[in-house]
């Protein structure tokens, strides 16, 4: 079934390409992509097979029903001088077209039920990944490895606003992808920090709601190394369209190397906390952090969105006492959309962004926060 489906869709793809013969074929095929991906996991290929099987059932039924209809529309029209028949019931016919769909449904439902049971079997995993949805980023934690990080949209604002050419992975690129080994059973534990999100990677056919307060599970075994992209699939507020997912599938050795590198980076970051930075270093780093983590609400020029997100330009927080400013960024503001960034950003990042906000867009405070100040604040000192 799957093979036939693939061959047919390849044929149709070829047809589409033919239509656009003047352009680079491969690129056009990607642009005019019209069917579900077969994906790179046993489950996704199974799902693709079901999808194509259902599609051909529908085509078959459609051909019969619409065929009768079109024939009748052609033959049985008044302009051809046809006298109408007068029949208006037929018990055997009505029984027949109730019974046949029943049989077809059973034929459709049995393989679907089998796939579903397989899809739910999360036991005996090799690696467990805790995925937490945030407005509007993902956090990944590899359980038992002490590796935990946030993954943000990496597409620059310039591309979104049309000031720069859009790249191939526009809106589907992140700063820190999740790296997973191929050939291992991976269990995803999915939850959320604020509203409901949904973690979806089409190539794995994994789609799970991330619900605040509750945990959901799903699994995959990736067959082929590669980079796989997905998006949040549950409306989660303003930037629902701007929280992509990138998974890089690598060999076991490369995966281990990535884990080690992650741990080393975390250790280096902890060391940086001890360092004292200059104003310029903090300011320029802060600008980068601000655009990545803050600008989607407070806007690029710190002007906010009136009535929704407050402005930072001239705000009492940004031009008030620095301790309070740090507190707002680290701990958030209860009952508002202002999150606690203490967990999402490193000490260096928070120091940089606070420094930036106090001196950007005409906020002429000129003072600076050092990573150690943030560390002490987090410790409640």
């Amino acid at each position: 079934m799957l093979k036939t489906a693939r061959r047919l869709s390849a044929w149709m793809l070829g047809f589409t390409c033919l239509l656009a013969a003047n352009s680079a074929l491969a690129e056009e095929a990607e642009r005019w992509k019209f069917n579900m991906t077969p994906g790179v996991t046993p489950v996704s290929q199974d799902v693709y097979g079901l999808h194509m099987q259902m599609f051909w059932w529908c085509v078959g039924i459609g051909v019969v029903v619409f065929g009768v209809m079109f024939v009748s529309m052609f033959l049985h029209r008044k302009s051809r001088g046809v006298k109408p028949a007068n029949f208006h019931e037929s018990t055997w016919l009505e029984l027949l077209w109730t019974a046949i769909p029943f049989v077809i449904l059973i034929l459709m439902g049995i393989p679907a039920s089998k796939s579903l049971i397989n899809l739910y079997d999360t036991e005996k995993s090799d690696i467990d990944v805790l995925i937490t949805g945030y407005q509007w980023r993902w956090k990944y934690e590899i359980l038992g490895e002490d590796v935990s990080f946030f993954s943000n949209l990496a597409t620059p604002r310039d591309q979104i606003e049309g000031h720069a050419e859009k790249s191939a992975n526009y809106l589907l690129e992140v700063d820190e992808p999740l790296v997973l080994p191929v050939g291992k059973k991976i269990r995803f534990l999915v939850t959320a920090n604020d509203v409901i999100h949904n973690w979806w990677v089409p190539a794995f056919a994994v789609k799970r709601d991330a619900i605040p307060g509750f945990i959901n599970d799903s699994w995959t075994i990736i067959d082929e190394p590669g980079t796989y992209r997905g998006q949040c699939a549950e409306l989660c507020g303003k930037d629902h369209g701007f929280m992509p997912i990138v998974v890089e599938a690598k060999t076991q050795a490369d995966y281990r190397a990535w884990l080690d590198e992650k741990k080393a980076t975390a250790a280096a970051l902890a060391e940086l906390t001890e360092k004292t930075f200059t104003f310029d270093e903090l300011y320029s780093k802060g600008e980068e952090i601000y655009n990545r983590s803050c600008a989607s609400c407070h806007q690029a020029e710190g002007q906010g969105l009136p009535g929704v997100f407050p402005a930072l330009k001239g705000s009492p927080v940004a031009v008030g006492p620095i301790d309070h400013h740090i507190d707002v960024v680290v701990n958030g503001v209860a009952g508002t959309a202002m999150q606690a960034f203490g967990e999402q950003l490193s000490e260096v990042d928070i120091a940089a962004v606070v420094t930036y906000e106090r001196s950007a867009w005409g906020n002429n405070m000129g003072d600076l926060a050092q990573p150690l100040d943030i560390y002490n604040h987090k410790q409640g000192k």
């Binding site: 049985h76 979104i160 619900i211």
Partner: protein, 516 residues
């Protein structure tokens, strides 16, 4: 003849006449159709190209939300109530609705509900931006302040629908002319009777779910807040317990309209009348046990997934019966293709395509790929636009000569049909492709690989919008200056409504007609 209508605005304000109220419902829904259509065009304009050009993401979300709410509660439902008001008494030989004063109320609270809902667009923080399905906690803890007005607007719309439904049931069960037994009723009356029972059953549940939201937001309860022992998933269960029957509320009367039109233009009686009635009832009953197919990815136990998958697939059996009956009605008829027939045939074809994608969506494992993508958007627009909108349009063309006493312009009707038909398919068919290729719904911006399909969809949407302007012009010019229509209008149509003069007098069937 009894006295005619009062003069001036008070005629409309105080009227208890089913025809006046029916007309007001229809004009109101027409206005809402254009309002909701404008919201849709803002969405399609933003999605014309990748990148953010026209609106901010937050306003985009307000547009998707308002488009859904206005179309469902403002355009489709009031249009069906309007048709019921006009046609049910005429079809069963009753002088008026059973509860005429309540009828007046159920209409006049609607404009206030929608004025309140629309006013949220101008409020601090903007209109509701959490989608027409308003999942908690996005619609509770994280909602803009205007959510309270949204809740009250929903309450008023619900009250209006419930009053309308009570009125229709009371009319059908008590006011039929002598000899009009239940199994002699036209299918439009039957489908509306069943729809009205669905409304009675589920609109209070919608009122309940928004009331729970209201209490969570303002009175410190925790129905949907995990922190207080509640559960956001409970919201989805209660919402879709309303939401799925709601889908059938928007389609069953359409079945009735099409079942009236196809026999007229095929010049052949409807095939399988009684199986149509039973199929409608079966769909209505099944609609209460399939709601969780909207939430296959929420993390249900496997037994639940399997149950809802099979129950959902089962619905295609009675739905199939209906489609087969319509085709059998056309078969060996003597067909002509006036505008109402064109819209009805398009209904059968396109609704069936929507049914096919529905069947695909019912397959739970495959739904893990389809869920919340443009494939779903394509699916429900294929059922709702040709389903509800085309059938209402067909009904308007079919009965407008009876209402106004004047014939519409057939050429313009056909132009409207072909523009709408092409526009619809150009808009919604590519959405199947963008959805399968992986585009999630409710996003204001997208990767370049979805760009071509989206551009086509946007072009189609504006074409579809333009087609409706033709419709508006055709309706107005018919009423103002159409040619005089005969009492029968069509070639030997079935039904009591064709036994009264055109235009239908202000009071009809003061003496009940004889039903053979």
């Amino acid at each position: 003849m009894a006295h005619g209508p009062a003069k001036g605005f008070t005629r409309w304000l105080y009227t208890t006449n089913h025809k006046d109220i029916g007309s007001m419902y229809l004009w109101f829904s027409f206005a809402m159709f254009f309002l909701g259509g404008m919201f849709a065009l803002v969405i399609r304009a933003e999605l014309f190209q990748p990148g953010l050009q026209i609106v901010e993401p937050n306003f985009f979300n307000q547009m998707t939300t308002m488009h859904g709410l206005v179309m469902v509660f403002g355009a489709v439902m009031p249009a069906f109530v309007g048709l019921a008001n006009w046609m049910v008494p005429l079809m069963i030989g009753a002088p008026d609705m059973a509860l005429p004063r309540m009828n007046n109320w159920s209409f006049w609270i609607l404009p206030f509900a929608f004025a309140m809902l629309s006013s949220t667009l101008f409020m601090q923080g903007g209109a509701p931006n959490f989608g027409w399905t308003f999942y908690a906690p996005l619609s509770t803890t994280y909602a803009p302040p205007s959510v309270t007005f949204f809740i009250f607007a929903i309450h008023i719309m619900g009250a209006s629908s419930i009053m309308g439904a009570i009125n229709i049931i009371a009319t059908i069960l008590n006011m039929r002319a002598p000899g009009m037994t239940l199994m002699k009723m036209p299918l439009f009356v039957w489908t509306w009777l069943i729809t009205a029972f669905l409304l009675i059953a589920v609109m209070p549940v919608l009122a309940g779910v928004v009331t729970m939201m209201l209490m969570d937001i303002h009175f410190g309860t925790s129905f949907f807040d995990a922190a207080g022992g509640g559960d956001p998933v409970l919201f989805q269960h209660v919402f879709w317990f309303f939401g799925h029957p709601e889908v059938y509320i928007m389609i069953l009367p359409a079945f009735g309209i099409v079942s009236a039109i196809i026999p007229t233009f095929a010049r052949k009686p409807l095939f399988g009348y009684s199986s149509m009635v039973y199929a409608t009832a079966a769909i209505a009953i099944l609609s209460f046990v399939v709601w969780a197919h909207h939430m296959f990815t929420v993390g249900m136990p496997i037994a639940g997934e399997l149950f809802f998958m099979w129950a959902t697939m089962l619905i295609s059996v009675p739905t199939g019966v209906k489609v087969f009956n319509w085709v059998a009605t056309m078969f060996k008829g003597s067909m002509t293709f006036e505008t109402p027939m064109l819209f009805s045939i398009a209904f059968v074809i396109l609704f069936t395509i929507g049914g096919f994608s529905g069947l695909m969506l019912a397959i739970a494992p495959a739904d893990f790929q389809y869920h919340d993508t443009y494939f779903v958007v394509a699916h429900f627009h294929y059922v709702l636009v040709p389903g509800a909108i085309f059938s209402i349009t067909a009904g308007v063309y079919y009965w407008l000569p009876k209402w106004s006493g004047r014939m519409y312009n057939e050429t313009m009707g056909k132009v409207h049909f072909w523009l709408a038909f092409i526009g619809l398919n150009v808009t919604f068919f590519p959405m199947h492709f963008s959805g399968l290729a992986g585009m999630p719904r409710r996003i204001p911006d997208y990767n370049l690989m979805f760009a071509d399909w989206n551009m086509i969809s946007s072009v189609g949407a504006f074409l579809f919008g333009a087609a409706q302007v033709v419709f508006l012009y055709n309706v107005i010019s018919t009423i103002v200056s159409g040619k005089k229509a005969s009492d029968e209008v069509w070639d030997n149509p079935e039904g009591l409504e064709w036994t009264v003069p055109s235009p239908a007098p202000y009071h009809t069937f003061a003496e009940p007609p004889e039903v053979k």
